[in-house]
Amino acid sequence: MLVFILRRLAQSAVVVVAMSVLVFAGIFAIGNPIDVLISPEADEFERAAAIARLGLDKPMHEQFLRFVDSALGGDLGTSFVHGVPALGLVLQRFPATLELALCAMLVAVVLGIPLGLWAGLKPDSLAGRIIMTGSILGFSLPTFWVGMMLIMAFAVTLGWLPAGGRGETASLFGVPWSFLTADGLAHLILPAVNLALFKLSLVIRLARAGTREVALQDYVKFARAKGLAPSRVVGVHILKNIMIPVVTILGLELGSVIAFSVVTETVFAWPGMGKLLIDSILQLDRPVVIAYLLVTVLLFVVINLIVDLVYSLLDPRIRLGGGRA
């Protein structure tokens, strides 16, 4: 087990190093680093001073070491637009995105598993077919368009829910959260549903496929033959066994939900990291873009690592047989 963890840690470290090399290459080799790192409004004198300060006259490998050094120290430059450190700006927006992503995951699981179970137990029923058609639509519909339609229906036409923003927030551990106030919760519903839609379709498909497979197994037949109540067979024998793939995929998908929240946040004007990224790209505020990228890469690596470790605890085959996981 220890060997597995160590190998997995080493692999994550390689990914982080590789990504920072790529980011470095992206900024310093492809684009003109002066445009990227120095505000376009700077005059000649400021430019020359900044070039010397940033060491842009040094050879490439020395520049890379400098970049790594300042990045490790948490210095990813100062936002051109906001005039504050870029990293702090991104981290400050992180709770809003995390809240949205977790709520979306919750919606996906709470709705997706029962629907998938139903569709798996009764694949030929009308309800089963409707659920599966719905999940195909969920995969096909572009998130941003669904978000607009949700706003159109529930905010503009019906007027039940607010169209955007985060609403009133309450503080917990010194961080503002929306789900603690009724107004914030009302603001949270539409974006969370919008972001959940894709994962909901995924959970439905996974749960359905798992149910169909598990329902044919001998132990389920035996449980039925034993005369157990159908609710117990479904709730214990089947549900438990379809949870492993669902949990794994959900863990892996948390990162993708955070990435996709870029779209939902833009549609619903939700003040999270994703909206910050889009605003920064449009305003050419590149230090913030770089900070977002590095934070997200790190987040992904950590999530993938945790999922792998948890999975290896759940399923011993991975850690015993898995030389090349």
Partner: protein
């Protein structure tokens, strides 16, 4: 069922067999028909729609923001309404469809070429090359496509060509992985061994022996990926980092209609969205059916 009519011809090319197999699903046939219509409309855009939406001389600003079905100053009806500049939405959608399809198809073809080359090489060379390439693929696939595309476009800037590059960069890894999977199975088979015993050049073995036998799963992935590429392009354009305003795709049209939507003028955004939806669903239906038809495990 009359046995004479149902009798299959004695000799049947593989293509005909696949076509017949495909046609068994009515939904898939409908999807294919819709897709063909969409592609034809996009190809013949200039002759299909009443107006060239980007020729300013043909626009009448007095016809701006007309509801669907209104009669315009030019004497013909705007079936899907007009936007703020008096542009016929139907014409704009068909032209937008052309940009969307162009981006989706070209990006997929480039990604396909790169992915196939890399994946085949990895599978054929094996060992260290394979390990290195596949690790790269794994790493790339552990990041969501939209994130990579956003970052690339943030570095590259706007433009149809840049969107194509970004989408191709996002997609190649899928093909590399798919073709490597089937190539690893195929290369252990006897016909490859036979070709190697004949001392044929590696390039010939890869292109003429290995590649054709790895194609079916690739076709399925590519079909579905076109739909993904179109949806991703629409999303990127909606976010403002995709195609430029001068060459709007469906996503761009939806985005520019967004501001009117909140005031109740739904048509500027709704109809391009529906067009996008129909296109994506049609492609997915065709892709799903192709997967069933091309999968040897299901057909026998």
């Amino acid at each position: 069922m009359s046995s004479v009519a149902a009798k299959a011809p004695a000799v049947e090319t593989p293509f005909l067999r696949l076509a017949r197999e495909y046609a068994r699903s009515r939904t898939a046939l409908a999807g294919l028909a819709v897709l063909i219509l969409i592609v034809l409309a996009a190809l013949l855009a200039r002759w299909v729609v009443p107006q060239d939406p980007y020729d300013l001389a043909q626009l009448d600003i007095l016809d701006g923001m007309m509801a669907p079905g209104s009669l315009g100053g030019g004497g013909w009806t705007y079936w899907l309404g007009t936007d703020d500049q008096g542009r016929d939405m139907l014409s704009a959608i068909v032209f937008g469809l052309r940009t969307s399809l162009l981006v989706g198809v070209v990006a997929t073809l480039i990604a396909l070429a790169v992915g196939v080359a890399v994946g085949l090489l990895a599978a054929y060379a094996g060992d260290r090359v394979d390990g290195l390439v596949m690790r790269l693929v794994d790493i790339q696939l552990s990041f969501p496509a939209i994130l990579i595309a956003l970052i690339l476009l943030a570095l590259l800037g706007k433009g149809v060509d840049k969107v194509i590059v970004a989408l191709a960069a996002v997609q190649w890894a899928y093909y590399a992985r798919t073709i490597r999977g089937s190539a690893l199975v195929e290369r252990r088979k006897e016909y490859i061994e036979a070709a190697q015993c004949l001392a044929l050049p590696h390039q010939r073995i890869m292109m003429r022996h290995l590649l054709p036998n790895c194609l079916p799963p690739l076709i399925v992935v590519a079909t579905v990926q076109v739909a993904h590429a179109i949806a991703l392009e629409a999303t990127l354009s909606f976010l403002g980092v995709g195609v430029p305003v001068t060459q709007p795709s469906l996503g761009m049209l939806i985005a520019s209609g967004y501001q009117y939507m909140l005031s109740g003028d739904y048509w500027v955004s709704l109809f391009p969205g529906l067009a996008l939806l129909v296109t994506i669903v049609a492609i997915n239906l065709v892709g799903d059916r192709l997967r069933d038809v091309l999968n040897p495990r299901l057909s026998h």
